[in-house]
Amino acid sequence: MDMKFRIFRFDPEEDRDPYYREYSVAAKPDERLLDCLNRIKWEQDGTLSYRMSCAHGVCGSDAMRINGRCALACQKLAKDFEGVEVVLEPLPTFTVLKDLIVDLTPFFERVDEVRPYLMASDPPDKERLQSPDDRKKMGAAIRCILCACCTAACPVSIENPDYIGPAALVQAFRRIFDSRDEEREDRLKQLDYPDGVWACVNYFECTRVCPKEIPVTKYINMIKREIGK
């Protein structure tokens, strides 16, 4: 099948303003949009830049805006865009560095802020015990691949650069609901401020775009409830 692409281009060394460039590429129906992008880069235009690595939705590198929605290019198949122009743009909310590559530094800083590691003292000689039910409380949060789709898509994040953002909250959730963590109260306190968990007003965009199907909004609301307890 023939695929039509319209791709956001911007090279700060060359361009005063961003522009869109159109490409046509032949693809098999089961190929990924990432395969199409690679074919464009390898066969037509090597100047196109984007991030990629594992190509099957595990590493989180190739997040971008695909026809208006934040997603991973390696998780979308050509056949689902038959007869439709595919518009590829960099993730919103973040600063564009070149073409489809954005500056994720502020994203990772937010994640680091929530202390994305277990805080617990005096481990026993063997493993700590944790019941299967307690283990399940971390839920789908352990699926997060830090692709930044949720934070990029969040209408609050776009408006308010101080909002901690859904991805950092998912990381916080994972530790707050880990029965082994001993800093639960402190973690909740840390998120209890206007630009913290309370900035979320339930647009549900994060949940809609999450490529790992994490119920992000639900988890944010569970944090709110824990703070209220």
Binding site: D11, T47, C54, H56, C59, G60, E127, R128, M138
Partner: protein, 573 residues
């Protein structure tokens, strides 16, 4: 730009991170990575990490060691296998302490499941030894170790590509790297270098490996005159999604999934009567190709079925959710009701940079190169021999990553700074400038794609003299063409066009080394199967292959296998 550190670690997968956590307590460390650390390929490991915890049923480190040796078709250095098996339990408990969200038994211990080649009582039957977190074990360990690195404030240089090693015969001075964001060449001066740059599955067309797995560290050692070990041993994982190569974890079979041919038969009954679908990967992959060649592929085509339909929705959701989602996304199938089309996919490199059990890189005389260390898939200790068992890679990374870190800490006080003559960054600058300024020639992608096709067609699960000779001639032609590689992108920022061209030099060099070693080994052992020499030959070939670059040519030599406990025996399952 110049930087000065005590230690530079290249690669931020599990081996690099684990080493960094160890060394950072003692020294000033820079962790350099081609991708942001949590994008590293360790994160793609699915099924589990092996350790004889005995949480589900009786198990022992001795059985683990035996399985590792036998799984590696007796090419494993047994002193290394003993270290791995003995330290595995401590290493997994440590990961739990770091916060890895393992699945749990009803009593709250780390849950374990069956995996290929993991047996009780020296091969009597399967044993549950794989500790797991659903089917994203690698990813959660990677996230956890990176979290630890964040906690300890370890300095990370993300999206820096390794261009050169500043080494001579007996000293190291640091590394040279290309910063993707700016195009700038950086010199990282250090007293110790640790390579944890991973494998090079991108030699092949169909692979479970990520785009970043181009073997840069391994190739740069080779280019610097350090020999490479056992390069002919390439693991093909039996269950890649047909056509795509995306991995479907062996845990799918550990949880009860079975492979079926076009007749619906569980054909592994014929090849490994005791442990059937849980035979080691080399045997299952060969069985699959044999079935396909006998016309028993599905619809007479070149794939088979992995049947999980009898496992039930609950087990699939709790223990195999990621692979269920891969099948849904890429094939549009529900694994609870339909089988998955699968074929072998290039997965893991047993060979690489020779090291001792403490990560010290060994030269052609078998002596440690002062200040140079390696661990993880880029290294060859050799703990996996001719074929790695599933779940032994993750444990290898954390056990030997840590040991390398400890050794660096121990040796660092005696390592001096070395100021090499001239400017060590020059070669990297010339390389990049030459590629950028070349006006005519061809792009890397075409050469790379021909290389991958050649390696897949002629150097995969089955090999023979004629195919290997043809492949060698192809690769040499491609190396010639590479001399005129060119790029469209002449800019400085995020020039992935140049990055891919630079990576291709590594891939072509490693393709040649792999072919030379595959041609040299005239027997069949583990993952290396020669149709023209179909038997294992312990009299002549129970030895490691080494290939060393000598000017424009190379030489092949050998070293003995360390055998301590288990004398080589016929390998049946």
């Amino acid at each position: 730009m110049k930087h000065e550190y005590d230690v530079v670690i290249v690669g931020s997968g599990l081996a690099g991170l684990r080493a960094a956590l160890e060394v950072a307590q003692e020294a000033d460390v820079a962790l350099i990575s081609k991708v942001f650390p949590t994008r590293s390929h360790s994160g793609a490991a699915q099924g589990g990490i092996s350790a004889a915890l005995g949480n589900e049923e009786p198990d022992s480190s001795e059985w683990h060691m035996y399985d590792t040796v036998k799984g590696g078709d007796y090419l494993v250095d047994q002193d290394a296998a003993e270290v791995l098996a003995d330290d595995a339990v401590r290493a997994v408990v440590e990961l739990e302490h770091f916060g890895v969200p393992f699945n749990r038994t009803p009593e709250g211990k780390i849950a374990q499941r069956a995996f290929g080649g993991h047996t009780r009582d020296f091969g009597k039957g399967p044993v549950k030894r794989a500790c797991y977190a659903a089917d994203r074990t690698g990813r959660v360990i990677l996230d956890t170790l990176f979290g630890e690195a964040v906690r300890r404030g370890i300095k990370v240089f993300s999206e820096f590509h390794l261009m050169d090693l500043i080494v001579d015969k007996s000293r190291v001075g640091g590394v040279v790297a290309y910063e993707l964001a700016t195009g700038e060449i950086h010199e990282f001066r250090s007293r110790a270098i640790m390579l944890a740059t991973g494998g090079f599955g991108k030699l092949f067309k169909t692979t479970s490996n990520c785009f970043a797995n181009t073997g840069d560290g391994v190739y740069l050692c080779y280019r610097a005159g350090i020999p490479l070990e056992d390069m002919e041993f390439v693991q093909f994982h039996p269950t890649g999604i047909y056509g795509l190569g995306v991995l479907i974890t062996e845990a799918a079979r550990g949880e009860g999934g079975v492979l079926r041919n076009s007749e619906g038969r569980r054909f592994m009954d014929d090849y490994a009567p005791t442990i059937k679908d849980l035979a080691p990967r080399d045997m299952v992959s060969r069985a699959m190709i044999t079935e396909i060649r006998a016309g028993r592929g599905i619809d007479g085509r070149d794939f088979l079925h992995l049947d999980l339909t009898h496992l039930g929705k609950d087990k699939l959701a709790e223990k195999l959710s990621d692979i269920s989602s891969f099948a849904k996304i890429y094939l549009g199938i529900d694994v609870a009701s339909e089988p998955i089309p699968v074929s072998p996919t290039c997965h893991y490199m047993m060979g690489g940079i020779p090291t001792d059990v403490d990560g010290r890189v060994l030269d052609d005389k078998g002596n440690a190169v002062t200040g140079l260390y390696a661990a993880g898939e880029c290294a060859c200790i050799s703990v996996h021999g001719a074929n790695r068992l599933g779940c032994n890679s993750l444990v290898d990374l954390v056990v030997f990553g840590r040991r390398a870190g400890k050794m660096i800490s121990r040796e660092l006080p005696s390592l001096d700074r070395w100021e090499p003559a001239g400017d060590p960054a020059d070669a990297a600058l010339w390389t990049v400038d030459a590629i950028r300024s070349r006006r005519s020639g061809e792009k890397a992608a075409g050469i790379r794609s021909e290389m991958q096709q050649t390696m897949t067609d002629l150097c995969s699960v089955y090999r023979n003299e004629k195919d290997l000779a043809r492949a060698m001639s192809d690769i040499r032609g491609l190396k010639e063409r590479y001399q005129m590689v060119t790029v469209d992108d002449k800019g400085a920022m995020f020039n992935t066009d140049i990055l891919e061209a630079v990576e291709l030099e590594s891939l072509l060099g490693l393709a040649e080394a792999t072919l030379v070693c595959a041609e040299a080994r005239k027997e069949s052992r583990g993952a290396h199967f020669r149709e023209d020499y179909p038997d294992r030959d312990d009299v002549n070939w129970l030895k490691h292959t080494l290939i060393q670059k000598t000017g424009q040519s190379f030489r092949i030599f050998f070293k003995p296998v360390v055998i301590t406990r288990f004398e080589p025996k016929a390998r049946t399952y």
